[in-house]
């Protein structure tokens, strides 16, 4: 019965010991796994070799217990493995770089936790050494496991001890480190924002926010220079009025030059809104310029109420934030420009469309007069205009005009001129009178800096008489008998003067055409065409082509001129519209035409 009791008790003890042992085994595995995880935390290089070596020695120690079990004298391998394991534990315990990445609050928490754990592990380690019931149970279960448990407790003690001291030494710098970490994060966020957010105001808000936070300032604001005016983009922790007043006070002070970051001491601003009088006193203000292509486009302000100066790090941070603001601002400006450019291009399309609709689609055909018209618009639409009016069966009115200025406004003036000329051509048979009337009408409607040059002439299709007057326009060129003549009767541009002076100075001229004579009417786009060397095409080249090709028909002459012009200015963009009207008088054709008809 006693024996029964003994065996029963034994049985219970064994079960109990086994349970204890397994609990310990499970805890040991869990603790070891946790250590392993901590060990690999935030490691820059792969440290697995160190850890694996340590594990190998743990195992060696474990199995070396078998040797001592065979022969208790044979214990030096066990001791050797134990010492090596201890060394490896110490080395591995130093891998705790992750502490640096904790914020201050976490570090304080870790400090307390690590000292508690270190003491607990130390206490347990002492327990495994002592000859108590618990360690007996484990030794009976497995001497190897006992050794491992022992090592694990040492590992814990050393590891948490190291953590405790490291954290302790890290604690004073924790705040600075936190700030740096936040700075890095903010910069990363800003980089993302700069590329994603196209609205500058939105970005300015973030930038002032971050500046206040990172640079230990009480307020921050961003000022943009817009047409020489200072414009507040965003404020943080300060009112618009106050920030506006303070920035103007500083920026308009001639003694303060802000080429790079500048700090100012003691700045006060007083603001009264109705009866609410407020006074702001900043001990320190830092101002960083926003530079886009070396031009100052704005300023970033950071202001501090407490009396300690912005240190090196603060200044660096403010500078980098102002750089980000510059980039964002530049982006915003570029986008605005491209939108503006698109708008202008659309406008030019409209202008070009208007121009094409205004110009005649067909050139009239006569037996006695060969006619051809050539028009090449410039990218930036000029205001060239030409037209033909069938006054009666014997008389053809011809006009060529050039509106000063370009683009949509020039196109609209063209439209007006077409209206003026086509209505006047039907009622006034005299070129000078017609142009005087046109000047009267246009002087009223044109703005003071716009004028129109023109030549208006009438060809008598029976007699070959060409009567014309010139208003500031390029000379009429006539090629006769292989020679070129330029006709420049006096006359001011339309819209230049609204007094009688226009009429009194305008001369009308009459030319009698002979068979084979060529008349050229054109706009200054031809003689003023430039090549890459900034040389002008000029009159000599123009007239030479006309003379050389006088025998050809008008269409061919026009094409020849355009061909030579293109060759001449091939490396240069065409700046102005080019219009060319070529007429050739050939009365013989008419006669034969009549006979045949």
């Amino acid at each position: 019965m006693f024996a029964d009791f003994r065996s029963d008790q034994n049985f219970i003890t064994i079960i109990f010991s086994l349970i204890i042992s397994f609990v310990f085994l499970a805890s040991a595995v869990y603790i070891f796994a946790s250590f392993r995880e901590l060990f690999f935390l935030r490691q820059k290089h792969d440290p697995s070799t160190y850890f694996n070596t340590m594990m190998v020695f743990f195992l060696l120690l474990f199995f070396s217990n078998l040797l001592t079990a065979i022969d208790p004298e044979f214990d030096y391998p066990k001791n050797a493995f134990y010492v090596v394991s201890l060394i490896l534990i110490s080395i591995n315990s130093l891998r705790i770089a992750w502490i640096a990445f904790l914020v201050k609050k976490q570090k304080v928490y870790l400090l307390i936790l690590s000292i508690v754990l270190s003491i607990l592990f130390g206490f347990n380690f002492a327990l495994t050494l002592e000859d108590n019931a618990l360690s007996q149970v484990i030794i009976n279960f497995s001497p190897g496991f006992h050794s491992l448990l022992n090592l694990l407790m040492i590992y814990g003690t050393i590891y948490f001890g190291v953590i405790f001291f490291t954290t302790l030494f890290h604690l004073p710098t924790a705040e600075a480190f936190d700030r740096k970490a936040e700075e890095v994060t903010s910069l990363r966020d800003l980089t993302k924002l700069v590329t994603e957010v196209l609205d500058f105001k939105e970005l300015a808000k973030t930038i002032t926010n971050v500046t206040t936070r990172i640079c230990n300032s009480d307020s921050a604001w961003l000022v943009i220079i817009n047409d020489e005016n200072y414009e507040l983009s965003s404020v943080n922790n300060i009112g618009y009025l106050e920030a506006d007043k303070l920035s103007k006070k500083i920026l308009e002070d001639k003694d303060i030059e802000i080429e790079s970051l500048v700090t100012l001491n003691q700045e006060t601003v007083e603001v009264s809104i109705k009866n609410d009088f407020r006074k702001f006193n900043f001990s320190w203000i830092a101002i960083a310029p926003l530079k886009v292509h070396e031009n100052k486009k704005g300023y970033l302000f950071a202001a501090r109420k407490r009396d300690y100066e912005f240190d090196y790090d603060d200044k660096k941070a403010i500078e980098s934030f102002s750089d980000y603001a510059s980039v964002a601002l530049e982006n915003a400006i570029l986008i605005e420009k491209s939108i503006e450019k698109e708008r202008l291009e659309k406008e030019l399309d409209v202008a070009r469309d208007v121009q094409y609709k205004i110009l005649p689609t067909k050139v009239p055909e006569y037996d006695s007069l060969q006619l051809s018209a050539l028009f090449v618009p410039a990218f930036e639409v000029g205001g060239d205009y030409y037209d033909f009016f069938n006054i009666d069966s014997n008389n053809l009115g011809i006009v060529i005009a050039d509106v000063s200025g370009k683009g949509i406004s020039a196109a609209f003036i063209m439209a007006e001129i077409k209206g003026v000329f086509s209505s006047l051509a039907k009622v006034i048979m005299n070129p000078k009178k017609l142009l005087v009337k046109a000047n009267e009408i246009l002087s009223e409607s044109l703005d003071s800096k716009t004028f129109v040059t023109a030549i208006y002439g009438i060809v008598n299709l029976e007699t070959g008489q060409f009567t014309f007057a010139r208003c500031g326009h390029s000379p009429l060129i006539v090629i006769t008998d292989g020679e070129s003549k330029r006709f420049t009767p006096t006359g001011m541009g339309l819209g230049l003067d609204d007094s009688d002076m226009f009429e009194s100075t305008l001369k009308e001229m009459e030319i009698q055409l002979k068979n084979g004579d060529i008349l050229a009417l054109y706009t200054d786009g031809i003689p003023e065409s430039q090549n890459a060397l900034n040389e002008e095409f000029g009159y000599e080249r123009f007239e030479k082509i006309l003379i050389d090709n006088a025998q050809s028909d008008t269409e061919k002459i026009s094409n020849k001129i355009m061909e030579q012009l293109t060759i001449f200015s091939k490396d240069y963009e065409q700046h102005d519209d080019i219009t060319l009207l070529i007429m050739k008088w050939n009365f013989n054709n008419k006669k034969s035409g009549k006979v045949n008809g």
């Binding site: 000063s404 500031g472 390029s474 006096t490 006359g491 002076m501 100075t505």
Partner: protein, 117 residues
């Protein structure tokens, strides 16, 4: 891009504007600014010295047309001097010599303001 420069000098009661380079639609606003500033200071007697101007476009010509009336209404004028032939030809073709006074030398133009005949 061709350069353009404006410089304003005071010469007694007369202001002299030196223009340099290319005067076209893109650079004309600079010249307009100079005229606006003179008007703000009630300086209506202006001589424009064209000595260093190599090109003028129709937009450039328009600037003088826009301001000449204001000057004349206030007993002043815009007179031109030291023009290169190529630039003068453009003014001439348009009939400017019938409306504006042109002088070979800046001094002549200034004297004309001070001792009108």
């Amino acid at each position: 891009m061709a350069d353009f420069n404006v410089n304003v000098r005071g010469l007694g009661s007369v202001s002299v504007i030196d223009v340099k380079g290319y005067l076209d639609a893109h650079t004309a606003p600079q010249l307009e600014n100079a005229f606006n500033q003179l008007i703000n200071k009630n300086n209506y007697k202006v001589v424009v010295n064209f000595n260093d101007l190599s090109y003028i476009s129709s937009a450039g010509l328009g600037v003088f047309m826009a301001y000449v009336e204001t000057m004349r209404e206030n007993k002043g004028d815009i007179k031109f001097s030291n023009m290169q032939d190529s630039v003068f030809n453009i003014f001439d073709l348009l009939g400017f010599p019938m409306l504006y006074e042109f002088y070979g030398d800046e001094k002549e133009a200034v004297n004309k303001f001070e001792k009108p005949e």
